[in-house]
Symmetry: C2
Amino acid sequence: MGNLFSPLPSQLPEEVSRVLVNSASLRIERIVSHGHTSPAGFWYDQEENEWVVVLKGRARLQFQGAEKLLEMGPGDFVNIPAHQRHRVQWTTDQEPTIWLAVFYHHD
Amino acid sequence: MGNLFSPLPSQLPEEVSRVLVNSASLRIERIVSHGHTSPAGFWYDQEENEWVVVLKGRARLQFQGAEKLLEMGPGDFVNIPAHQRHRVQWTTDQEPTIWLAVFYHHD
């Protein structure tokens, strides 16, 4: 057993990811951000689908080709199909933002 | 996009499950309990592995053959291998207990 909310990394020079499950069919990660964003011009372009939820904190996701940013707060989830290019445009610096991400292959 | 914390079912005569992702490799469900427990003598015996986290509320899981109950509160997660018989021994009646469960096949 473990807990998603504690302990948190004490130092966050960059986004920190912890793999909770790693199987042939999926990977579950807890990701902690604190004011981190994707570098300007960087886009995630992933082989896997990603279902991701913000559990604490606040974030904004940007999707390539979409004008509007996706504002996310506690409980908000989104499914990102493989190769849908996206980036983290903003996370709050007021508190850690805790994400739970499930990466999986098949539709 | 959706939110895990709202809306919640307004009536909870029994535990309510909502499928968020259903793919060949996994199924993600939000489950809401409010004082519900597994019937006496009932054990879940699942074909799939289940990674499950309590996001709000409190619960106790019982595993067949284990003397100690697993106390779970916000953020607590556990991985339940396929066919590990278990039951929900208790959920609090003070508030809804919100679970996120990821069911998957392969180790």
